[in-house]
C-alpha cells in the first residue's frame, strides 16, 4: 500500500507546535492492577500521532482516558493530569458531554448505531444542539451532506440516507463512524485501531480519509499495525508495559529508534 500523498493545499501542519493533549505524570489502576505508570505525553495540534506497542501495553487505556470513556468502570483509579486544549479533563468540574463533544472517538469495530445513516450523522448534533428539533430539514440535510462529503461517503450513500447504517459495508460503516463525529466540530479525534477490523483495501481507504482530516483535527491513533503507523502518522509514540518508552517523529523513530526496546519492537522481535 502506498502512502497517501498529502494534499497540496494542506496547511503546513508540521510547523504547528501547539499542544492539543498534554498528559502529565498520569498513572492508572484497574482495581489493584496498575496499567499506566506516570506517562508523560504531548500530542501536537493538527497532526496524526500514532500510539504503538504490544498487546496489553496500555495504549488503549491511555486513549480511553482522554475522553474518560473508562470512567464507567467503577474500579478505575487515576493520578496525574490530562489536559485537553489547556484544561485538565480529570477535574470534577468537567462536563463529560462537553468533553466528548470536543474529543470524538472511533472504535476498533465499526459501531454505527442501529438507526438510519441520516440519524447516525445527526445523533450527536441533536444531543449537543439545544433547539435541534426546531431546525429546518434543509439545515439538517446540509449537515448530513457536509459530514458525509468530508468522509468521501456522500456519493455512495446519498440515495439511501434513510436505510439502516448497519447494512453498510465495514469500510462504509467506519467512515460513517468518523462522519458522525464531525457535525459538532470536535477538536481531537481518538482512534482505537480504526482499521483492524477492515480488509486491506478498506484499510487503505480509511487511512486515506484519516490523512485528509489531518490539519483540521488533532488525531491520536492507536494501532497494532506498525506499517500503518509508519505510513499514516506524523509522530509516533511507543509504549511498553504501561510506560511511554519513546515519542518521536515517525520517520525518525522507524529509522533510528533511541531505545533498545523500541528497536526490538519495530523490528518484530516481540509484540
Amino acid at each position: 500500500m502506498e502512502t497517501p500523498p498529502p494534499t497540496p493545499d494542506a496547511p503546513d501542519v508540521l510547523a504547528n507546535t501547539e499542544i492539543a493533549v498534554r498528559v502529565k505524570d498520569f498513572s492508572l489502576w484497574y482495581g489493584t492492577f496498575q496499567a499506566l505508570f506516570a506517562v508523560d505525553f504531548n500530542v501536537k495540534q493538527g497532526i496524526i500521532t500514532s500510539l504503538i506497542g504490544p498487546s496489553g501495553c496500555g495504549k488503549s487505556t491511555l486513549l480511553r482516558s482522554i475522553n474518560r470513556i473508562n470512567d464507567r468502570l467503577g474500579y478505575v483509579r487515576t493520578e496525574g493530569v490530562i489536559e485537553v486544549l489547556g484544561k485538565n479533563v480529570l477535574d470534577s468540574d468537567v462536563a463529560l458531554p462537553q468533553l466528548r463533544k470536543q474529543v470524538g472517538m472511533v472504535f476498533q469495530r465499526p459501531n454505527p448505531l442501529p438507526l438510519s445513516i441520516r440519524e447516525n450523522i445527526l445523533f450527536s448534533y441533536t444531543l449537543h444542539t439545544p433547539d435541534a428539533r426546531k431546525r429546518t430539514k434543509a439545515e439538517k440535510d446540509q449537515i448530513v451532506e457536509e459530514a458525509l462529503r468530508e468522509v468521501l461517503l456522500w456519493d455512495t450513500v446519498k440515495d439511501r440516507l434513510d436505510h439502516s447504517a448497519t447494512a453498510l459495508s465495514l469500510e462504509q460503516q467506519q467512515k460513517l463512524c468518523i462522519a458522525r463525529l464531525l457535525p459538532v466540530k470536535p477538536r481531537v479525534l481518538l482512534m482505537d485501531e480504526p482499521c483492524s477490523a477492515l480488509d486491506p483495501e478498506a484499510t487503505a481507504a480509511v487511512e486515506e480519509l484519516i490523512w485528509q482530516l489531518r490539519g483540521e483535527y488533532t488525531i491520536l491513533m492507536v494501532t497494532h499495525n506498525m506499517a500503518q503507523a509508519r505510513r499514516a502518522s506524523d509522530e509516533c509514540a511507543f509504549m511498553l508495559m504501561g510506560k511511554l518508552v519513546e515519542h518521536a517523529d515517525t520517520a525518525e523513530m522507524f529509522v533510528t529508534p533511541r531505545h533498545k526496546e523500541t528497536a526490538d519492537y519495530i523490528e518484530g522481535r516481540y509484540g
Partner: protein, 289 residues
C-alpha cells in the same frame, strides 16, 4: 479393512437403545398437552356458546354463563400489569444500565430471586395482610391485582433485564463517546431495541397471571358476585376461582360445565402466547442489526 469388531457392534446396539429411550422420554412431553387439549375440547367444546360467554351464572352457578368471571379475570390482569410493568421495567433498567456491582445491587438481585421463589399462597397471605387490612383496600380488585402484580414483578424484571442485556454493548459505548448521557442512550438506543423482548416477556407473564387462583381468592375474587365490577374497590369473580368453585364447592353442576370454563381459560392463555410469538417475529424483522 475397517470392519466392525464384536465390540463395535455391541456398542452400536447400545447406542441405538439409548437413543430410543431418550426419544421416548421427549415424546412423552407431548402426551399430557395433547390429552388435556383433547379432553377439554371434547367435553368443554359443546358447552361453549355465545350465551355461555356473555351471560351471568344462574341457579347457584349450575347454569348460565361465565361473563362476570371472564371480565373479572381480564380486569384483574390489566390492573396487575398497570402496577407491575412500569415498576418492573424501571427496576430492570436501573439494574441493567445504572447499577454498580456493590452490596446494594447484590441485595436487590437476591430479593428478586427470593420473590420469584415465594409460593403463591404466601403471596396471598401477604396480600391480605398488606393490601386488604393494612392499606384498608378491603377484598377488592385493587388488593388482588396488587398481589398479582407483586407476584409477577420478578418475571417482568428478569425478562426486561435480559432483553436490555441483549442489546450489544458497543451501541452504548458509541453513544457515550458521542456525549450522550445514560438516559439519552437508554431512551434512544437501548429501549427501542429491547422492546420486543420486554413485551414478549410481559405477554407470557399475562398468560400465567390469568390462571393464578391462590393469590386472588383471599384478596379480591369471590365465589359469586351478582353484578359486574364498577371500580377497583369492588370484588369480582375470576375464571380460575370460578373453575375451582364449580368443580369442588357447588353440588348439582353439570359434569361438562367445568370443562367449558377450563377451555375458555386455556384459550385465553394460548392465544396470549400466540400473540406474543407473532409480535416477537414482527419486531425481530424490524430490527436493524
Amino acid at each position: 479393512m475397517f470392519k466392525a469388531t464384536e465390540l463395535n457392534l455391541r456398542n452400536e446396539q447400545r447406542e441405538k437403545r439409548w437413543r430410543l429411550l431418550f426419544l421416548l422420554m421427549a415424546l412423552l412431553l407431548i402426551l399430557p398437552v395433547l390429552i388435556i387439549l383433547i379432553l377439554l375440547v371434547y367435553r368443554g367444546g359443546p358447552v361453549i356458546s355465545w350465551s355461555f360467554l356473555f351471560e351471568f351464572p344462574r341457579n347457584g352457578m349450575t347454569e348460565g354463563g361465565i361473563f362476570p368471571a371472564l371480565l373479572g379475570t381480564i380486569f384483574l390482569v390489566v390492573v396487575a400489569l398497570v402496577f407491575s410493568v412500569p415498576l418492573g421495567v424501571a427496576a430492570a433498567v436501573y439494574l441493567s444500565e445504572y447499577a454498580p456491582d456493590n452490596w446494594l445491587t447484590r441485595t436487590i438481585n437476591l430479593a428478586i430471586i427470593n420473590l420469584a421463589g415465594v409460593p403463591s399462597i404466601v403471596h396471598a397471605l401477604f396480600g391480605v395482610g398488606a393490601f386488604v387490612l393494612f392499606f384498608e383496600f378491603g377484598t377488592s380488585i385493587l388488593a388482588a391485582s396488587l398481589t398479582l402484580g407483586i407476584m409477577t414483578l420478578p418475571v417482568v424484571i428478569v425478562a426486561t433485564r435480559e432483553s436490555l442485556q441483549a442489546v450489544p454493548h458497543a451501541f452504548r459505548e458509541a453513544c457515550w463517546a458521542l456525549g450522550a448521557t445514560r438516559w439519552q442512550t437508554i431512551r434512544r438506543i437501548v429501549l427501542p431495541n429491547a422492546v420486543s423482548g420486554i413485551l414478549t416477556g410481559i405477554i407470557l407473564e399475562v398468560s400465567r397471571t390469568a390462571g393464578e387462583t391462590a393469590p386472588i381468592m383471599f384478596t379480591g375474587a369471590a365465589f359469586f358476585v351478582p353484578f359486574l365490577p364498577e371500580s377497583v374497590y369492588d370484588q369480582t369473580m375470576a375464571l380460575s376461582l370460578h373453575l375451582y368453585t364449580i368443580s369442588t364447592q357447588v353440588t348439582g353442576v353439570p359434569e361438562d360445565l367445568p370443562f367449558g370454563v377450563a377451555l375458555v381459560l386455556i384459550g385465553i392463555v394460548l392465544s396470549m402466547n400466540a400473540l406474543s410469538i407473532a409480535f416477537r417475529v414482527y419486531l425481530r424483522n424490524k430490527k436493524k442489526w
